[in-house]
Symmetry: C2
Subunit: 73 residues, 2 copies
């Protein structure tokens, strides 16, 4: 799985785990909602500064957002 | 610690652990040595594609390169 997709899935899952909509996550992070949406569709090659900023808002570690999970069959 | 510095230290440590000079790492990754050097000095905001590519060359996970380690006092 490409790292962008790993990040996209982890970002979405972390937002869901916190009960945050894309809109609320975007608001808290001070980032446009369409940018979050694009990240969750693996459109952009996020920078580590953005990854770390989103992780802070989600109260997790930046490394958590890049962790490869076992793929479902 | 800023994420760029976390990445810089982990990148340097992982290269050292593999016995790779900056030059050899750059060669294997197909990236300019000056770019690697800049990443190790926290100059650039690396993208996750670059992080993942370097991790692959270093035979570790992308998430390992963003892991915050306990800071020395």
């Amino acid at each position: 799985m490409e790292i962008r997709e790993v990040f996209a899935r982890n970002l979405e899952a972390a937002g869901r785990a916190k009960g945050l909509s894309q809109e609320e996550l975007a608001h808290r992070a001070g980032i446009d909602r369409t940018y979050i949406s694009s990240l969750e569709r693996s459109v952009y090659n996020a920078s580590i500064d953005v990854v770390d900023h989103l992780a802070t808002v989600l109260e997790i570690e930046a490394s958590d957002l890049l962790k490869r999970r076992p793929e479902k069959k």
